[in-house]
Symmetry: D2
């Protein structure tokens, strides 16, 4: 059956942004979306130029206006991708949900837990998709790792080690204005109260939760800012306790000299352990207790979940854009089901949701609180 | 400046084919092409169903008809992607070139050197693009490797070691009809006289030539068929001699149990060596004589060529589809230039050409001849 | 100049022990020691049989007697290797120091800080060598890593990540008596109050301290026992704070399913980062901020320290026994110097000392205290 | 049962030599040998000084004299280690065999096939051990690889890929006299007619034969000398044919810039493939047809052969010296059995023999002949 291309709008992602172009490639890759409208910048002229350059038909100077206008059109957008700095996630998402438009939104969900919970409530009320782009859960082998845990191949989980190391903020690159990315991500007014914590700490947290199916019950954490003059944390370390007795550690740093995009997860259960490194996403390591490591590869692992999330045969590497595209592919399946009043397709259910976003905000809150209390253990609400 | 999407047609690539879908994703990824017409199967009903499923507007039952009809339309296709079995490459490409339509064609170029040379001549006469999809030369780090050689960082090249190992034909999977890929690739009537040699040996040969900037002057080769009943080679080994005195070895096998898609190149010069493995395409190893290895990564290597061929920051892996997309991106740049009578843009010049295809056919001929002569050294014409 | 073989005695290390045989190989490897006397077991018959099997000339039923007798002989031992369970380290070492015999002792130094401090004092008073076998600091590339830090190649240290993961105690293998190693290592009466913490946590701590030249000023830690019925910790996690503002994490586990002997260190400074994995001890990774990784190899790194600790050319791997032998080689150099009243040779100064052992005991104490106080940050005495 | 240390003599291996010291460590490591006599240099003064430095009791100025004198002593040597340049292997071995002394000899066995065959005959007649130190077959995982092949885990062998790449002779380091190793190894009068071929090509050949249990029936080869002025080959490439239809390639180079000691073997059968890299000797890769790779580690693989050849637990790396020691350990077992008229112990039977050396000389002869005949396929005598 031929599938209709869904119409996608975009807020944010104008010239100089990184993630806007990534969203556009990801949305296009599996041919389920066409970007037809955008408010790509708060500067109207830049918005117009950015849209033209990206081949986007309808450019708006204002996202409120865009929500209204698109909702009113017969051929208006089906969904909006929100790729703004963090502080706008909630207001923009609210406007589009109110206008009856599905939402695909960058993480972190919002800049406060209250905002996030309100969004989750609104999305439920409106019956609209709210997908959060935790890209790394789109990797086939991350999904397979989750399946291994679910099937009990690891036994009872005992230890979780997750980390996300980068080095691009090891120096005060946010000063001077040349590095737009660094600028907003280290500005609490735009990024919210969590710097490294919100930017990549939440990815690490979500990856561990996604694979293990567990979130920690409590944590002891310490935020730190290494770069003089920086207004926000650039390093976070935490110890974790899970309800089943498991223990864990989480480390995220943007000053780890030499690290590119080092998101790594290791999980150890009573029967086996596994390890994943997003810089080598076509392999997953599985090792039984006392045994030998098996290198599970994307194309050879027997997995319905992994197969749904892969496009090319074994030995032909897929990467970050394909993982991102997977989120859009799953979103398309869910949008169609929601629009037609059908149950969400089983194969789409690993798409990260607004609730994952709320969980991330609870994690942020707990880290902020524990760090402020010199590492006192804090319960994580709802976990 | 906003860029027009080029209109692409496709011949071959219907349901059950692998490479057709890959071409469509690759063409779409950088938003420079839209697939609008196709003759996806020689079976008209299957062609129609395949086109509908792929969201292709105009479906033709016959590629000759398609060439004629598209040439006649104001909004006819700018280029055609030929993804048929090998024996049709030449006739299809000829038809579209004659119709004044640019060509993007799978390798090997043709099933005989004569066919290939005629195509090269025709493409030159018509002034049309003839791009050959040697995907692996689309990898940023393969292009960077070439640049390292060109800049003299390796010194004078002494040794070339290239190999391409797979295992998917280790058993007689071509029997029974279930495996369509195996079926035509082991049938000399469809694949031509070279099996493994044409299918992956040419990739290995082209990769070595692309990076070193040299093709061997002579070779001594042996083809072999391991699987009983197979009508074509599934294994090739060759020794190489280059004009500058360099020596080399080439190995390609489709019966190498355990191998997925193991295309690997190592080049050693008087000053340094390098190594690339397409299953880990985000890294390239460079080691000076007597020195320590440096792991060059896609996002961190200083390289205009690599930068032109990459989309996401360091540490965010790209893969096979992005390499393939790069060929289409370069093709778009060249098509625009050709259509506008401009010189081909410098950044597009690494696109593999019909002449690379002819070189591949000369290699095939030399291997067939040497193998038939019990490994006698054979000169490679034109090299 | 021909070098005299030193005479070595051994306490502990009888049949069924692992580390006794390792010490004997290590002592012999560089031909600086000959094992001539031993009290290999507290069971006199087993002691005798073990000595005979190991080709040790003089066997004692009791180590007190051995200290006395050897001190009285003209050809008595120069040094004793103590390879007993932890609780005997201090009494045995005391007896031999009192007898004027140099000591090489397994880690942890003792089962209490008081014991350890007394030993350190005694060793100083007696002017005898007290070498502690923190094997991993015998690796050439660990020594080179230390040199890189000392030379300022990493800049100011910001982040330390160290871990030691094993899986051999993931099940209650200490029950039943078959596994002698597991038996004493999980028995607080023999191992002391620290299980995994003392057994491998101290190795991790020492490795980080050895390479960075810094010990943490404070830590927040949690001990845990996963295996039901076990009388001692089998898992430790800790966060670290250093005097210069650096942060760190330490993880040690003996229940990490699939892990063999995973001691790994990563250090990040303002200028570069490095990584070492003792399971791949012939390589060390060095990556500048924003730059590319260099794979430093044992045989090719320019390093006086590494050269002193290596025996075979580049590409010929050395391993654990060679690292261990290095400690004995350094010990021989120091024993000769001490006996002759010379200054300790510069190239021997990386040998781990009784003070390193005391530092390890302080670390153990701080972890025990912090863990007992629900992770409250504890200062580390003397650091 | 306590084991007597065997008395070992050494010919060659004086100051400035590399391999003599390696032999002495290897012989000592497992405590089965003590070096008590030597003719370490043809220069009597250097011989004396070298022996003194190495702590060797009896120094001879001449190896003929040494053979006579040691044979005459009650406490004369049990075995001699021959570590001279190649041209002396045969005369020295002959002298000691004639004197009734067991022989451990460096490879290649001799500088001509005739010499080698005579030695093999003599060793058989004398009933003495003649062990050839093909070190790499002492690695536990090389022995395990052989066992996997023998047990049929790979199925019928189809493809063998073996290579040995170094870079230490990439420049004319043999000139000037400073590099003693390079000097004799590139001098046909001392090294014999085969340079790289004899020095490392034979190692590659032997490793492939040892693991697969097959030697090629025929080969087509090309020797090459890259470095101007060099009197001997520094590069060899060959194609192989086996009696069972298998095919293979062998490459050895001493000019491969950046390579340290890259001896690698891959074997592919109808059921699975395996890969070994001597620079990572604690792991062996096994991959079934169409399946996932398993990383077999030295300490965890279930293998009687590997266990016999290992000293420390899993995760504690062993290296080159331990592999070398294994040959001496096996030699000790065989010497004792021969001296006592017992059958050779089963666990010692993987020790490389004089017949392996003869096979290596046949390989050398075939390569020399094929290369001289422009790569014509040559049968390998006796294979």
């Amino acid at each position: 059956m031929p599938q209709r291309r869904l119409r996608l709008g975009m807020v944010g992602g104008g010239q100089g942004a990184f993630i806007g172009a990534v969203h556009r490639i990801a949305a296009r890759l599996d041919d389920r979306f066409e970007v037809v409208a955008g408010a790509l910048s708060s500067d109207p002229q830049r918005a117009q130029a950015s849209a033209a350059e990206a081949g986007i038909a309808r450019s708006y100077a204002d996202w409120r206006e865009m929500a209204r206008a698109e909702a009113a059109r017969d051929d208006g957008i089906d969904a909006v991708a929100i790729v703004t700095p963090n502080h706008l996630h909630a207001p923009v998402a609210t406007a589009f949900l109110e206008a009856g438009i599905h939402v695909v939104c960058d993480k972190p969900l919002a800049i406060s837990l209250a905002e996030g919970e309100a969004l989750a409530k609104l999305a439920r009320e409106k019956g609209k998709l709210f997908a959060l782009t935790h890209t790394y859960s789109g990797y086939p082998l991350v999904r397979h790792a989750r399946e291994l845990v679910e099937r009990g191949e690891l036994g009872e989980i005992r230890v979780v080690q997750v980390e996300y190391a980068q080095d691009w903020l090891a120096e005060p690159v946010e000063t001077g204005g040349a590095n737009k990315q660094a600028g907003w991500r280290t500005d609490p007014a735009l990024a919210g109260p969590a710097g490294c914590l919100g930017d990549i700490g939440t990815h690490a947290y979500q990856l561990a939760a996604f694979v293990t199916g567990m979130t920690p019950r409590a944590l002891s954490a310490e935020l730190h800012t290494f770069v003089p003059g920086r207004r926000i944390d650039d390093h976070v370390q935490a110890m974790l306790r899970y309800a089943n007795g498991a223990r864990g550690m989480l480390w995220a740093s943007q000053v780890a000299s030499g690290a590119e995009n080092g998101l790594r997860l290791r999980v150890y259960g009573t029967k086996a352990g596994l390890a994943f490194d997003q810089e080598q996403p076509n392999e997953l390591w599985f090792t039984p207790l006392g045994g030998l490591s098996e290198r599970l590869t994307r194309g050879r692992v027997k997995s319905v979940l992994a197969a749904h999330a892969t496009r090319v045969p074994s030995g032909h590497p897929e990467g970050y854009l394909e993982a991102f595209a997977q989120l859009y592919k799953d979103a398309a399946l869910q949008i169609e089901a929601l629009d037609e009043g059908r149950a969400l397709p089983a194969e789409s259910l690993l798409l990260t949701t607004v609730d994952d976003g709320v969980a991330g905000l609870r994690f942020i809150d707990a880290v902020l609180a524990s760090s402020a209390a010199d590492g006192q253990w804090r319960e994580i609400e709802g976990a």
